[in-house]
């Protein structure tokens, strides 16, 4: 093909390429499982081991420098942590007693018991590869029993849910993502609403009536009504309430309990969606 012919054909090639992208976009936008696309699975499945290996090397280099500094503060931290362990052990015993009493009451009232589910530890190998979406890529996939829509959490609270899964990786949509939503309620008043990501590592609790008394620092937990997160998991705490005297709803800014923006290790809750019955919310 001469240079002139190639130049003449260029607009046609451009049109063909753009049209193929438009078709792809339209198909994906209409598809509810667009995150679970074949191209994404193939590409990230191939990339995941390389990224994981590189991440391990970089983390160990970073860790070596940090280790020396950490050692210097280890003694004070050790004392602090011992005190914390004692306090938390006492709290745990109290909570176990409460849970036993609650289970006993649930049995007497013939209420369904909370389903038990396993947990699977995972490492974050990539995060927020683009500015627009809050995504974490973790090193567990279908080979480990991970499925789409499984919740992901740390000991502190929920992080997000699995939106795309391949054999050796899973992509997690963080609760701070603009497209994320969690059925949630205020722990004290039990007023129910929905937590939405607002970016800047914060969320917003919506649909809480302005007549409701909301205090900063109050805990927010999952309702179990979204059929993704089991009931009673900690989402975060109320950071501030921006009351609109003329509006029907509070504007509640939530600080996630889990360090979503810097989490490195997390737990996938192996929840089977069919176990999350609607009756859970009652």
């Amino acid at each position: 093909m001469s240079a002139n012919t190639a130049q003449q054909k260029t607009p046609w090639i451009l049109a063909a390429l753009l049209l193929s992208q438009v078709v792809l976009m339209s198909t994906n936008a209409r598809h509810p499982d667009s995150e679970q696309s074949v191209l994404r699975i193939w590409l990230v499945t191939a990339f995941a081991p390389i990224v994981h290996a590189a991440d391990s090397v970089l983390s160990s280099i970073k860790g070596t420098g940090a280790s020396y500094i950490d050692v210097r503060h280890a003694r004070e931290e050790n004392v602090e942590l011992r005190e914390k362990v004692e306090r938390l052990t006492a709290e745990l015993n109290k909570e176990l007693e409460r849970a036993a009493a609650l289970d006993s009451l649930r049995r007497q009232l013939a209420l369904p018991t909370h389903p038990e589910y396993g947990k699977l530890a995972a490492n974050v190998i990539s995060r927020d590869a683009s500015l627009w979406f809050r995504r974490l890529t973790i090193d567990r996939g279908t080979l480990d029993g991970v499925k789409r829509d499984m919740p992901v959490a740390t000991a502190g609270g929920i992080v997000g849910r699995v939106i795309s899964v391949g054999p050796n990786f899973a992509m997690v949509q963080a609760i701070t993502d603009k497209h994320a939503g969690v059925g949630a309620m205020l722990q004290t008043s039990r007023a129910m609403g929905e937590v939405r990501g607002v970016d800047n590592d914060r969320c917003e609790l919506r649909n809480i009536s302005s007549s409701e008394n909301v205090e900063p620092g109050e805990s927010i937990v999952t309702t179990g009504l979204d059929r993704i997160y089991p009931k009673g998991l900690l989402v975060g705490t109320v950071e501030r309430v921006e009351a609109d005297p003329n509006g029907p709803w509070h504007k509640i800014i939530v600080k996630p309990a889990a360090p979503v923006d810097r989490v490195e290790h997390l737990l996938i809750l192996l929840v089977d969606q069919k176990d999350l019955k609607l009756g859970e919310g009652k």
């Binding site: 260029t10 792809l24 976009m25 990224v51 990539s126 995060r127 500015l131 627009w132 995504r135």
Partner: protein, 175 residues
């Protein structure tokens, strides 16, 4: 060999895009797929530019999240426009290349956000015009600074092509 090198460059760019935001938060503002697209589009070959743009854009969509094809569309168009401009204008000197990166970065952001709005996808950092402007500015800065390093590396990797391109331009504009 040339095709293999380009493919490998795209793969490495996508791997770095996945890896580096873990360590440097500002890296979110840098779009390596776009920079690779602009680099190959500046080779005075619009077809190579747009094909590279499409592949790098789709790869970026796959690793970054969101609707597949949005990044592919915007980078295909950017690849073509930069390629077409490089045929008509002399964009060889470093300052011209930086200007092209800055304009391409702004154009890519506007296209990407616009397409997402058309598909009714809400995005962060674009709630108000001021915020949108700031996001474009930061992305332009990030992409331009990153291109200084990246283009030097790529010029070394593709030194034969760079020399041939310089010769062709000298012939065209100065002889």
């Amino acid at each position: 060999m040339q095709t293999f090198k380009i493919a490998l460059t795209i793969v490495v760019a996508l791997l770095l895009q996945m890896l580096l935001p873990n360590y440097v938060r500002f890296f979110q503002y840098i779009d390596l797929a776009l920079l690779v697209t602009v680099y190959f589009s500046l080779q005075r070959a619009p077809v190579i530019g747009m094909v590279t743009g499409m592949i790098a854009g789709l790869g970026g969509d796959a690793v970054g999240g969101g609707i597949l094809g949005v990044g592919g569309f915007s980078k295909t168009l950017i690849g073509y426009l930069v390629g077409a401009a490089s045929v008509r204008l002399s964009l060889e000197n470093p300052l011209a290349r930086l200007s092209v990166v800055a304009v391409a970065s702004a154009g890519n952001t506007v296209l990407f956000v616009g397409l997402n709005q058309m598909l009714e996808q809400t995005l962060p950092h674009v709630s108000t015009w001021a915020e949108f402007g700031a996001t474009i500015g930061w992305k332009m800065l990030g992409d331009t600074v990153a291109s200084i390093i990246l283009f030097v590396v790529l010029d070394r990797v593709f030194s034969e092509q760079a020399t041939a391109r310089r010769m062709a331009i000298r012939k065209r504009f100065y002889e």
